[in-house]
């Protein structure tokens, strides 16, 4: 029997689909003979009592989730998301630099240093990528700090905001698509495949803020993993291989029949009736991985 702590925050229960998925994890674990308890941020001193930690709260090196992950890691527990994956995935500069190094198919990307943020640089970027371009704060999640700019003034406005917390930001060619492929990967294997559709008239999958009632969120179309394009799955696995061996959600755009990686997320959303719709075994597979 493995004792699993599932680290969550209150907002993980705000949507019934997410709360449902958490119950599915618990049921799967218990039916496999394991213990599965939810652990909140005031329960960190309990970590040593467990054998494995499964993090469902939003991860970032600056959040409690990282403290949980690293503490569990130091104590020799099995942990998803592991601290290294959190560090790489939470920072877009970090992950794109790795994609560059290992030649993962990706959206054309540049990195902008706060100290080299001049008129000339902006002009050169527009020349290279055309207009508009996409600016991202390295720490963005839920599309919160991803913005499109088409002139120097808005470039400066957005960049200035993103530079407040990070001395580097990400600049990308704008590559719109009707949907993002989302490939769930666990331990170098494809776990599930979906399409995250863009809401009508939008270029981002969602302005989805957990815990806030106000968001627009595109539809999720689930596919059987065996029916998804082979090349798509290869690209997803390649992207994850430069990050680690844990649980990831890879966002991929299909452009002229080619696949380019938008990003690898650790801690991918799993909502009941969405990601699991055509791949019901994902709960068991993740629990099995945690208890191996």
């Amino acid at each position: 029997m493995t004792r699993i702590a599932c680290f969550v925050e209150k907002y993980n229960f705000s949507y019934s689909e997410e709360a449902g998925a958490l119950q599915n994890f618990k049921r799967a674990a218990e039916s496999m003979g394991h213990e599965f308890n939810f652990m909140f941020r005031n329960g960190l001193s309990e970590i040593p009592k467990y054998d494995a930690v499964f993090i469902r709260a939003t991860t970032d090196p600056l959040y409690t989730a990282y403290v949980v992950s690293k503490t569990a890691w130091e104590l020799g527990l099995k942990v998803v998301d592991d601290p290294e994956s959190i560090r790489v995935c939470a920072n877009k500069v970090h992950q794109y630099r790795l994609f560059e190094k290992y030649d993962v198919p990706r959206i054309p990307t540049l990195f902008l240093n706060k100290e080299e943020f001049h008129h000339r640089t902006i002009e050169e970027i527009f020349e290279l990528f055309g207009k508009p371009i996409v600016l991202k704060a390295p720490y963005t999640s839920f599309s919160k700090y991803v913005e499109k700019v088409a002139c120097e003034t808005s470039f400066r406005d957005v960049a200035k905001r993103f530079f407040r917390r990070s001395d580097f930001i990400v600049v990308q060619k704008f590559m719109p698509s009707r949907f993002d492929w989302r490939v769930g990967v666990l331990n170098n294997q494809v776990l599930y495949v979906c399409k995250y559709m863009m809401p009508k008239g939008k270029w981002k999958h969602g302005v989805k803020r957990r815990g806030k009632p106000s968001f627009i969120w595109g539809r999720t179309v689930s596919l059987k993993r065996d029916n998804a394009p082979q090349r798509l799955k290869e690209v997803a696995l390649k992207a994850c291989s430069v990050v680690g061996k844990g649980l990831y959600g890879v966002d991929i755009k299909e452009v002229n029949g080619d696949y380019v990686v938008v990003e690898v997320n650790d801690n991918p959303s799993i909502y009941s009736g969405y990601e699991d719709y055509r791949n019901k075994d994902i709960y068991e597979k993740i629990i099995k991985y945690l208890t191996e």
Binding site: R41, N42, L44, S45, P61, L62, Y63, T64, Y66, V67, K70, T71, E74, L75, P83, E84, R87, N91, V93, H94, R97, L98, K101, N113, K114, E115, E116, P138, Y139, R165, S166, D167, F168
Partner: protein, 235 residues
Amino acid sequence: MSGALCVLVVSNIDLKTNVAVTKPSAFLKSSVRDCILNVNNDYRYMKLGYYVSLHAEILGNKVVPTTENAVDAYRLPILLVRASKNNVPTMPYIVTDSVKQIMAEFKFPIVVFAVNPFSFEGYYVAKNRSALYRVVKSLSMNYRYAVCAQPLNGEMVSCKSFFGRSNIEDASIGEIAEKVYKTFNIPICKLHIQYVDGKAHLCSLQPLEMEEISPSDLNEISKTVSRFSEKGGFD
């Protein structure tokens, strides 16, 4: 990093040394293959000092400090877990955003540290319940982050540490500075320590602000950097 043959020093501080020192922004544009000694007053996540270490790592270079250590040393609960694993005396602590939980665990006075990484603020001592509420609310940025509380059983002392050497002459403090450096390799930092019955305990580690580096500190840092370079590596 023993056995390293050469060292490139990257620093945002004007070091007084004959050794060639590269500025962070110049280094970030280069693709040098070398061991990197990243000397910075601030290695906070997503600040320039952090990106210097990241750049070195992406290039496949050995670097002091690593990005992993930079993140961990500034995240208080992780600092304490890893330090105590390496035999550094630490204080009992609790990570929470609940004042009730803190009071159930410790008697007043209580020292509270921010676990939120945005502030340079050190710590606050709360002597009673209402003070504790105030301090927790502020350090947690209105309960957005947890805080780390420790009992105050003795006296708080702060020291600056340069490559594991404390600026305070005290054997017990010196030992902590040295061990913390061995564990995390943070060249420049401030340590908060609690003296209880003649024995020092590690409480927290923080970046130094540039203004806190005095001329004699600068000499100390410069001397150590020169020595590293002469030896062509780290011990």
